[in-house]
Amino acid sequence: MFDKIMFATSGTPVCDSPAKIAFDLAEREDAELLLFHVLGVPSRGFSVEVTDVRTGDKEALGEDYEAWVKEELTNTYDNQLKLYVDKTRIMTTVGVPSTEILRLARKEGTDMIVMGANTRPEDGGGRHRSIMGNTMMSVSKRARCPVLIVNRPCNTCWNLFSSIVYCTDFSKAADHAFTFALKVAKDIGCPLHIFHAVNLQSGELGGKPTQAMIENEIEYAKKRIEEKYLSQVGDFKMVEVDVREGVPHVEILKYAREKEGDLIAMAHHSKEVDPEVAEIGTTLEEVVLRSACPVASVNHPDWLKD
């Protein structure tokens, strides 16, 4: 399913959990793994100094510095590299991290990008929107392939995924996310839970909705799921549908816990807008921040291969 996976890392402990998943996934898929680190932001045009993205300090850029960073990365991921060194390429470059990640992903035609969400406990555990890494947000927004965001240590990893939760708001982007979720579920052979939360806080139902309005909305959503998604599953029988009412991100998290979800797949944003200009959706951001399992953000259909 995946031939080339990029693991974009800052080399900090935040990326330890994504590393475990990235290596496990690459091993399972027998895929090539690009271990990619962006050295820093050039201080000026043609500057010989870079601003280290990790520390903010100015560093003199040169072959020695690059070799030192590669050695650091090799030491950091020593355990994983011992098992998967043959199919891993360690790559570094200089620039703005998100731009360089997207550039390399496009150039190499990666099937998936694995990243952390940058929510260190000392930063308040993600209390502020700005804590959600800017790099992650930019990459997630513009990447042509699915972006797997890993925010928590996960012991199960790809090999042991036994339950995938797909969340939809019926947008076009959500359709692409469904294609991804179904493909992964079929590939792994695990149950796929299709979930929709009727948003009671948005006012879309017209002020404070009555019980009858909520029930109608739930029925309507079930019908749409049947038409839109169940019609695509074919012979795959391990599909379950649930629709609930409440605050979407709370319901998604509750549902994922209830179903012992190992992976949540959803679209990057919720509105019918051009993916190139859409901001990351609040629901996805909240889910990424709080979920115990990895979240796959899918934005484009381009990665699909027959």
């Binding site: 308040g124 800017n134 115990a292």
Partner: protein, 178 residues
């Protein structure tokens, strides 16, 4: 500043040691916790004064989770208590300079912080909660954190505790399979 004492049984007591009649009027009051105040006391409070449930979307799921837990003995040897901490942070890189003030609940064991998400909910309900110091971190220097005495309002207390429990804790099945 008015003081609201939070009792172990979930009641809010005013300066006159009588129960608060208008709970919302005490949101700005300085909080003190009765000895032995626990997460269960917190949930008893939001159950008793249901108007507080609207402060955070995570309170209702928390109450549902609590309902399926044993009535007592929900503790763990891994934590001596939980502590509400007010953090003041100046950040400057990457991005624009910024000043953040936030309240977080953290687990404590023999003076060291423990991540609460590593514990199951039914191991936390009867662990005591304490009010901690204000911690001031300057430009990400988490080694030289300055600490100050401070007060917490009832709103900060409710919102801070509810925020922390909005994070999903490690599922049991995850740790078993690992």
């Amino acid at each position: 500043m008015n003081t609201a004492t939070l009792a172990r049984n979930g009641m809010i007591l005013t300066d006159r040691e009588s129960e608060a009649v208008e709970p919302l009027a005490h949101l700005a009051s300085k909080v003190t916790l009765e000895n032995g105040y626990t997460l269960r006391s917190f949930l008893d409070m939001v159950w008793r004064y249901s108007v507080f449930q609207a402060i955070s979307v995570f309170i209702s799921p928390l109450m549902e989770e609590c309902a399926s837990c044993p009535d007592s003995g929900c503790r763990t040897d891994g934590l001596t208590h939980m502590e509400l901490v007010k953090r003041v942070e100046m950040t400057g890189f990457p991005g624009e300079p910024r000043f953040n003030i936030l309240c977080t609940l953290t687990g404590m064991h023999n003076g060291t912080e423990q991540e609460l998400r590593l514990f199951q909910f039914d191991h936390l309900l009867d662990v005591p909660i304490k009010l901690g110091m204000l911690k001031h971190t300057v430009f990400g220097d988490s080694v030289n954190v300055m600490e100050f005495e401070t007060d917490y309002s009832l709103f900060e207390f409710i919102e801070g505790v509810a925020w922390e429990f909005g994070f999903q804790r490690f599922p049991e099945h995850c740790s078993i399979r690992g």
